[in-house]
């Protein structure tokens, strides 16, 4: 008799063309035909990312994640928190990425033995066992070109020769016996700004999220503390397990014994009550005339509140309406591309020179006879600002205790656009009465958006 067994039963890897290219079972084997339910859902979904993450089937539940155009489909037999499985699957992908540099079908197929060994160590009977990359790397060495060659010749493998000690150490995230000749600790403060801007340039929402990624190569068991000049900016934080919660709560200091190598120390959200400095502005005018087969396209962008730092790697993209057949645009700098099939317009602007603002102008040809598209496209912007964290967060100092050498310490700041959108003008339909209603009620956050109408 088979009683319901919890947690992850099997894992199938499905590529974008719908082939199962790897399967792993932690308990008895589940036939791959169970994936048919997944394929059905996949067909129903218009976009790859619209496949529901949880699919019930008569005897199992399928929980999947999509990363790098590969579906990782876990088979579950009974009640388990879905996030538990999803989080684990993402951890698997992160591990693959860590091991092979990229997580593609080719990389997985090339390293199928390592993949298999990793999966074996990561789950025992469907329950997560070793998911810390530090420990996994002790158990199973990541492949390198040299070792792959050597292994082919000598017939040896990647399984660690030495027994790992990490699992037994109570600092599960750190390897023991770490040694470096150059002791270094680098911290990257990377902030992303998500914003929705309306056509007039007013902010509808704007938020800054940041992470501190670390690369720590220090001998022994160092104990680090990192303090900020302005920790009050941090509104909401989540930590790597190494960070001591209470110390943070009491003193707003990050105190931790770091894992060895690369890790994400902290993710944070900045509290700014909408006072986010928007570093870029866009002026655009996209018009279609009824009855005409031509549309006009004009777009200019420029820096705004960048604290003296330049905007780099600027990339504009926009999903034009279906009726647009082709475009004939003229960029003042950079290159633009329009895909007539997906209707995706992208313009690689590069650096913005404040003296000579980049612009993209020209015409669009529309399907003859088709009616005027009833919506204007949203503009998505990507950019980078080096050497600056938009929120103004600053690391005060980094101290090391527990070891005697003097490490080299480095810190870097960067700002990127996250989901940064500029909305089209609100025309056409509208609830005119809403506006009246707005004036009637005393509501504080009405300010923004009023000028659109």
């Amino acid at each position: 008799m088979q009683l319901p067994a919890k947690m992850i039963h099997s894992l199938f890897l499905v590529n974008s063309s719908g082939d199962i290219f790897l399967e792993k079972h932690w308990k008895s084997v589940v036939s791959r035909s169970v994936c048919d339910y997944f394929f059905e859902a996949q067909e129903r979904a218009s976009e790859p990312e619209n496949v529901p993450p949880v699919i019930p089937t008569p005897h199992h539940y399928l929980i999947s994640v999509l990363r790098h155009r590969i579906y990782f489909v876990a088979v579950i037999q009974s009640e388990v928190p879905p996030l538990f499985v999803i989080e684990f699957l993402h951890r698997v992908v992160d591990t693959f990425q860590d091991y092979f540099g990229v997580c593609t079908e080719a990389a997985i197929k090339d390293n199928v033995v390592v993949v298999y060994e990793l999966l074996e160590e990561m789950l025992d009977n469907g329950f997560p066992l070793a998911t810390e990359s530090n420990i996994l790397k002790e158990l199973i060495k990541p492949p390198t070109i040299l070792r792959t060659v050597v292994n082919t010749i000598t017939g040896s493998t990647n399984v660690g020769e030495q027994l790992p000690t990490g699992q037994l150490s109570v600092v599960p995230w750190r390897r023991t016996g770490v040694k470096y000749t150059n002791n270094e600790a680098y911290f990257d403060v990377v902030e992303e700004i998500d914003a929705i801007i309306d056509k007039s340039g007013s902010t509808i929402t704007a938020e800054i999220q940041g992470v501190i990624d670390a690369c720590v190569k220090l001998t022994g068991m160092p104990d680090l503390t990192l303090s900020f000049m302005n920790p009050r900016l941090l509104d909401d934080v989540s930590f790597h397990p190494c960070v001591r919660f209470k110390r943070w709560e009491a003193e707003r200091i990050l105190s931790f014994i770091p894992p060895d190598g690369n890790f994400r120390l902290l993710s944070y959200h900045v509290s700014c009550q909408n006072l986010v400095a928007i570093p870029v502005y866009v002026k655009h005018n996209i018009t279609f005339r009824e009855g005409s087969s031509q549309g006009r396209f004009e777009l200019t962008l420029g820096p705004k509140q960048t604290m003296g730092k330049g905007l780099e790697a600027v990339l504009i993209s926009s999903q034009l309406p279906r009726g647009v057949l082709n475009t004939n645009l003229n960029p003042s700098q950079g290159t633009y591309n329009f895909d007539p099939v997906t209707k995706l317009l992208s313009w690689d602007v590069g650096k913005i020179n404040p003296q000579k603002l980049p612009s993209l102008k020209g015409s669009m040809s529309l399907q003859a006879g088709a009616s005027k598209p009833d919506e204007n496209p949203t503009i998505n912007i990507q950019f980078k600002i080096q050497q600056s964290a938009l929120s103004g967060l600053k690391v005060n100092r980094l101290d090391m205790y527990g070891e005697k050498y003097k490490p080299f310490k480095g810190i870097k700041y960067m700002t990127k656009a996250g989901k940064f959108q500029v909305l089209p003008a609100g025309t056409g339909l509208g609830f005119k009465k809403i506006i009246q209603y707005k004036y009637r009620t005393k509501h504080t956050s009405l300010q923004e958006g009023l000028n659109t109408t």
Partner: protein
């Protein structure tokens, strides 16, 4: 010919097999050849054979049995990793014959000295249970034993086993409840999820509803009974309930979405209303994660936002939809936005909705229109606005948009039809264009229902529909029949023939449902001589006033499933789902969670540490982790290590958990302080490097703020259980009495000194001034580090200071003068031999090794009979550690207690072991290269154990 493989071929074999397994191919032909390799010495090959075995054992049972003996041998291997992996594989082999062997192996592993092996044992339990459920009772015993385990490594795994095997045995949790709460923060992430979910259920059975008074009020309001003055007990939260809430809260900051969700659901189900709010921020944070995570989180937020709307209102903007969101995320965000809508924010929300309607994504547009409809029904003030907006959408170019609007308008119109006949007329015109069946059906229903408001148009619509009847979809046909019937009843003059015609068409329809309906309606509305009483009431039946539909969230009341669970997400009970029980009416006995206070090995220290709290010693965040770190480091030194944290830290955490359910706030601090304390000791012995800079080391490990200069305040401790000696009697001292005790703390300015705590009490009427030490007369080699001068000691006050004395490992007294501003007193401090040492941490193996090197002259053995009260492990441990400052060495047997320490000055090892036999007979062995110390220590311990 693969049967006899040579070593060289093995890895080849393996690398060939695995890809085959991975690709789902059958590699079972190779089974015999592979099984042969099980006995191979090479760990690497072993591991691979294991993988293969587990995969194919079920199919090739006979051959799999060949390998069993190898695993049994592996279970006895001195290397804990081999023991663990042998158990892991053995328990994964799904062959029923070996169930007894597995059971035995699990039982043994559950009492293994390595926590890693115990963890593996916990993992093996569900495996065996699924193979043979009849073993349940035996397995529950093992689970009970492992639940009592105090290592973080085991906690998560054993709770997982508990949840799979015997989730109904909530009684097993009582005694371990506080321990689990306290260990939680240091358990690995996956274990945390399992433990938190289990504790949520536990709390629902053991504590009272913190919101019961409010909930009652609501109910009372609803009833509006005059008997509102019901006896209402004031609610007092069980301290254990509070402990759970407090200890889980920091985990909202975990990077692991599953952990955050687990804590969020715990708060949602268990916390007082006023406190639930804290989870909103964390959940909103999760929405910046991968889209799958968003999907699950939004489902839960949708459910929560119905019950606790206020909680998410500040984060309204976080639910705004981006054009790049996948449709399923958009729809869920829409759901949340709709739930959050109220009079104050509706204008903002509608403005958002307005932009959504322009989206390319038609499914999403449809969902938005539905959402507008729901806002309109819920918030009366905007109903007209919404309705107007929706009517405008009727002229939209996209048919789907129009159709969806029609459906929603229909629902809205039902609320106040008389005011909107123009809208109904407008919609009637749409039947010419709209092809979407649901929309056509809705329009027809509207016209039929309110035909009195549009008396001229209605028959005309029926005429048109009768023409196209045969080409319509089934739902439309049904509504045509419906319309015909209603018109027949209200306006039979104009529509009699049309109705007959439609009913005739329906009579021969392919769909039996339509045929049935036609027959039924004909009987009902067309009066014949045969027709019964019912036809008289036909009008009442068809044109009764119908209640307006309530547009409800699909997430309403979904919280009867535990949030975060698969069942909640699917809104259907998944196999193995444990129902979240309702709060009990009256709380069960809270004392079941009390654990008898066992005599702690370190009772002495515990007390000192506890007392120190209020002195303002810097708090040590996550001190436990620091402590663990060091035990970890000790462990590193020997590969075959045994229980690294027994005795010291374990007994402490026990102490901590066991302490009465008083204000647990202070309890928490204590546990930190304690572990800190003891780590200090460990550090001293375990880490030579740090020994010279104790201040720095303490700082480093515990990350306290920089230590204060020499007068280290941490070491000023009021005495507790420590034995105090008199230095100066009140009468001799003319009102000044002085006592001293050996605080057993490392003396930070000089680690080779023994810390002596001196307590001055001024019982005179005037103040004593300038208390200090002078003119020490010391034996050669002895040194003292005086305490800083006490300038004033007011009358009636007491003050404690610490001084350090290097006794040179001898029991010679240190003589010195104690001076006040007026007098000098000659005093002397003579240490008991047990105070000349400090504890060190070592493993059983290290102990044996060291003991082996201290034989002959250095070993003293005495036989003794234990005093009556002193029989039993705990008593022995307690008495020995009181007599001498030693720490316990973990040991598998309870017949033998071992202790280790080293002398303070020279660092010579002091090893003590007490072997107990029947009837209180025992044997004491002391190994120490300083023979004098050894002899004296034997004397003291003998005395302690026999009296």
């Amino acid at each position: 010919g693969g049967f006899f493989l040579f070593d060289g071929q093995q890895s080849q074999k393996r690398s060939n097999c695995e890809p085959m397994i991975a690709r789902g191919k059958n590699a079972s032909d190779l089974f015999p050849a592979v099984v042969k390799n099980v006995a191979c010495k090479n760990i690497e090959v072993k591991k691979l054979v294991y993988v293969y075995l587990v995969r194919y054992a079920e199919e090739q049972q006979d051959l799999a049995l060949l390998s069993i003996s190898t695993f049994q041998r592996g279970l006895k291997d001195p290397n804990q990793l081999i023991r663990a992996s042998a158990l892991r594989v053995l328990s994964s082999i799904r062959v029923t014959i070996i169930v007894p062997i597995m059971m035995l192996a699990i039982k043994e592993a559950a009492s293994d000295m390595s926590p890693y092996v115990r963890k593996t044992a916990a993992h093996a339990i569900p495996k065996l249970y699924s193979l043979d459920p009849e073993q349940k009772d035996c397995l529950i015993e093992v689970i009970e034993k492992l639940l009592a385990d105090k290592t973080t490594l085991v906690a998560g795994s054993v709770v997982m086993a508990f949840e799979e095997v015997c989730p109904e045995r909530i009684d097993l949790i009582h005694k371990n409840y506080r321990k689990l709460c306290n260990l939680l923060i240091d358990v690995e992430e996956w274990g945390q999820v399992v433990i938190i979910n289990m504790l949520t259920r536990y709390a629902r059975t053991q504590f009272l509803n913190p919101n019961m008074n409010e909930d009652k009020e609501e109910k009372e309001k609803k009833k509006t009974e005059a008997t509102a003055i019901v006896k209402r007990k004031p609610y007092v939260m069980d301290p254990d309930h509070r402990l759970l809430l407090r200890n889980t809260k920091p985990l909202l900051q975990s990077r692991n979405a599953a952990v955050v969700m687990a804590v969020a659901q715990l708060y949602f189900h268990l916390a007082p209303k006023a406190e639930v709010g804290v989870i909103a921020k964390a959940l909103v944070r999760l929405m910046r994660s991968h889209s799958e995570v968003q999907y699950v989180v939004l489902q839960n937020v949708a459910t929560m936002s119905i019950k606790r709307r206020g909680m998410f209102e500040p984060y309204l903007k976080s639910f705004y939809i981006r054009s790049t969101d996948p449709t399923q995320i958009k729809v869920l965000k829409l759901e949340v936005l709709t739930n959050l809508a109220n009079e104050t924010n509706i204008s903002t929300i509608l403005r958002e909705f307005q932009t959504y309607i322009k989206s390319n994504d038609k499914d999403f547009v449809a969902a938005t229109i539905q959402a507008i409809g729901r806002c309109a029904t819920n918030i009366g003030e905007v109903r007209d606005t919404c309705l107007n907006g929706l009517v405008q959408l009727l002229s939209n170019r996209d048919e789907l948009v129009v159709a969806e609007s029609v459906v929603v308008i229909k629902k809205l119109l039902q609320m106040q039809p008389e005011q909107h006949s123009d809208i109904i007329k407008h919609m009637a015109k749409l039947t010419d264009n709209i092809q979407v069946p649901m929309a056509r059906a809705s329009i027809l229903w509207l016209i039929g229902e309110y035909c009195e408001h549009v008396p001229k148009i209605a028959p005309d619509v029926l005429r048109k529909m009768a023409k196209t009847f045969t080409n319509e979809e089934d739902i439309v046909k049904l509504q045509i029949i419906n319309l015909a019937a209603k018109l027949y009843l209200t306006n039979s003059k104009q529509t009699k023939l049309l109705t007959q015609y439609v009913l005739n068409l329906a009579k021969y329809d392919q769909n039996y449902d339509i045929r049935d309906r036609a027959r039924f309606i004909r009987q009902l509305i067309v009066p014949t001589d045969k027709s019964g009483a019912l036809s008289k009431y036909a009008k009442k039946l068809f044109l009764a006033l119908k209640p307006a539909p309530v547009l409800e969230s699909p997430f309403k009341d979904r919280d009867h499933f535990q949030l975060g669970s698969l069942s909640h997400l699917l809104n259907a009970k998944a196999g193995g789902y444990q129902v979240l029980p309702d709060w009990p009416e009256a709380a069960p006995d809270p004392s079941v969670r009390n654990v008898e206070v066992k005599e702690s090995v370190r009772a002495v220290e515990t007390v000192t540490a506890r007392d120190r709290g209020p002195l303002g010693a810097p708090q040590n965040p996550r001190g436990a982790r620091g402590a663990l770190l060091y035990s970890g480091e000790d462990v590193k030194k020997s590969e075959k290590k045994s229980k690294p944290r027994i005795g010291s830290s374990e007994s402490e955490s026990e102490e901590d958990n066991d302490s009465e359910s008083e204000s647990s706030e202070s309890e928490e601090e204590e546990s930190e302080e304690e572990s800190e304390e003891e780590t200090k000791k460990k550090k001293k012995v375990g880490n030579e490097r740090l020994e010279n800079t104790p201040c720095l080391a303490v700082h480093a490990v515990f990350t306290q703020p920089p230590p204060l200069p020499v007068s280290v305040p941490q070491t000023i401790i009021p005495s507790g259980n420590l034995k105090t000696y008199e230095l100066l009697h009140r009468i001799t001292g003319e009102g000044l009495s002085v006592e001293y005790c050996f605080s057993r703390q490392p003396f930070s300015p000089d680690p080779h000194m023994v810390a002596v705590k001196i307590q001055f009490t001024n019982s005179a009427t005037s103040e004593a001034k300038s208390l200090h030490v002078e003119d020490a007369k010391l034996q050669s080699g002895m040194r003292i580090k005086e305490f800083p001068e006490i300038e004033v000691l007011p009358a009636g006050e007491t003050v404690s200071v610490v001084m350090g004395i290097d006794f040179c490992d001898s029991t010679q007294a240190a003589n010195f003068q104690l001076c006040t501003h007026t007098r000098k007193f000659f005093v002397s401090i003579q240490p008991p031999v047990g105070e000349l040492m400090m504890p060190i941490f070592m493993t059983e193996n290290e102990f044996k090794k060291e003991q082996g090197q201290l034989m002959g002259m250095n070993e003293i053995t005495e036989k003794l009979t234990l005093e009556e009260k002193c029989q039993g492990e705990h008593a022995v441990v307690q008495r020995v550690t009181t007599a001498a400052n030693l720490s316990r060495v973990p040991c598998g047997s309870d017949k033998e207690c071992r202790f280790a320490g080293k002398t303070v000055t020279s660092g010579s090892l002091v090893l003590v072991s007490v072997v107990t036999k029947e009837d209180g007979a025992a044997q004491l062995t002391v190994n120490c290269e300083k023979m004098v110390i050894g002899t004296m220590l034997v004397k003291d311990i003998l005395q302690a154990l026999t009296q």
